[in-house]
Amino acid sequence: MTKKVVFILSIIINIILGIVLVCNLIGASENLKFEYVEEDTIRPDSLRMYLDMQNYGVAASLSHPIRGGAQIAAEDADYYRLGEYADLLFLKAIFDKSGNTDTLKDCETRLAEIREEMPDYGILFDKIEQSAEQAIVE
């Protein structure tokens, strides 16, 4: 009788340990395969929030990883590209004045590409451009 009870208890413990093991396996595999920009799950949410708040400069700075070749989750790609657009506009003025003509040209090409790839965001692009123009101190 005692042996039976011990056996049943051990089976219950094994089931619990099995569940913990499966959870650990899932967690470990997710942790091992995450991408740079997914590493901080707050980042896409923050990006969206700053775009909503029209803080385009912050969105630009949060999107820096995309310019280093980071892989972006498909559902977040638009936000990153909007941030990239703001970032490139900010840098464009510097490249323009520093005489990096090739880089300036690349910058303009990429800006045109982003606008073309995201035709639904025309109004937002205009606002970002306006903010970049206004950021320049006369």
């Binding site: 042996k3 094994n14 029209q54 385009y56 900010f90």
Partner: protein, 246 residues
């Protein structure tokens, strides 16, 4: 024991003498005892087998439990250290792909895109403190500050027409800190800039930082001199005037 007929040595449980062939009656007690022992032994074996068979599920369960505990310990360790494993793997990959990555870095640098270089280096976990990337050490220490300068200034100056800003005074502090750090790093580099293989890029980065201050913070060469000659408080007051306006 000896055979009483021929005197040869015989075993305690022999039925007949192996030498003279006489039937041995004197070993009968030993034979009976042997049979009883054999029967007892058989019974004990059967009992032990039965007990063991009854315990097999419990033993298996305990073994499975041990395996599960080991599995949980291993996966827990991997889960906790996954970031470091991945970082190490990326670092090794960056060493293996040195030629490819070096060419990409050179492209960023030639384009004057130092924030792009910073993002590339961070994304690929390139270790500038060890070979083969250790020649990037000084460039990276300054690029990190330059990248922070760009990040802080762009975050402080680019807003939409109906923007909601959390704490503009934090933008002022951020820019003040980033400007100080970048120019301090240039004045007090961890090694000599002039003898660094990437010195031209470092000087170009400084030019770009100067332009950034001029374009977005209104600090031309004269303004910069005045800004750096001013106290911390005066510098912040200036930045407040530029950054926090209606």
């Amino acid at each position: 024991m000896k055979c009483i007929s021929c005197g040869a040595e015989i075993g305690l449980t022999d039925h007949v003498c192996p030498h003279c062939g006489r039937v041995l009656t004197e070993t009968a007690a030993h034979q009976a005892a042997q049979i009883q022992y054999q029967n007892d032994s058989e019974l004990t074996k059967r009992k032990a087998g039965k007990t063991l068979a009854g315990n097999i599920p419990l033993v298996i369960s305990a073994f499975v439990m041990l395996l599960l505990v080991i599995g949980i310990a291993i996966t827990g360790y991997v889960k906790k250290n996954a970031y470091h494993f991945r970082e190490d793997a990326q670092r090794k990959e960056s060493v293996n792909k040195y030629d490819e990555y070096s060419a990409a870095i050179r492209e960023y640098l030639d384009a004057g895109d130092y924030t792009g270089f910073a993002a590339f280096k961070e994304y690929h976990n390139i270790a500038e403190w060890e070979a083969p990337y250790d020649d990037l050490r000084l460039l990276w220490s300054i690029t990190g500050k330059y990248s922070a300068l760009v990040t802080n200034v762009e975050a402080a100056v680019m807003f939409g027409p109906e923007a909601r800003r959390y704490r503009p005074e934090d933008d002022v502090d951020g820019c003040h800190w980033a400007i100080h750090n970048f120019y301090y790093e240039l004045e007090h580099p961890e090694s000599d800039i002039d003898s660094d293989p990437y010195r031209d890029y470092i000087y170009d980065m400084k030019e770009k930082a100067d332009l950034l201050l001029e374009i977005y913070l209104g600090l031309d060469a004269t303004g910069r001199d005045a800004y750096f000659a001013a106290s911390d408080l005066e510098q912040k007051v200036y930045l407040e005037e530029v950054l926090i306006h209606d």
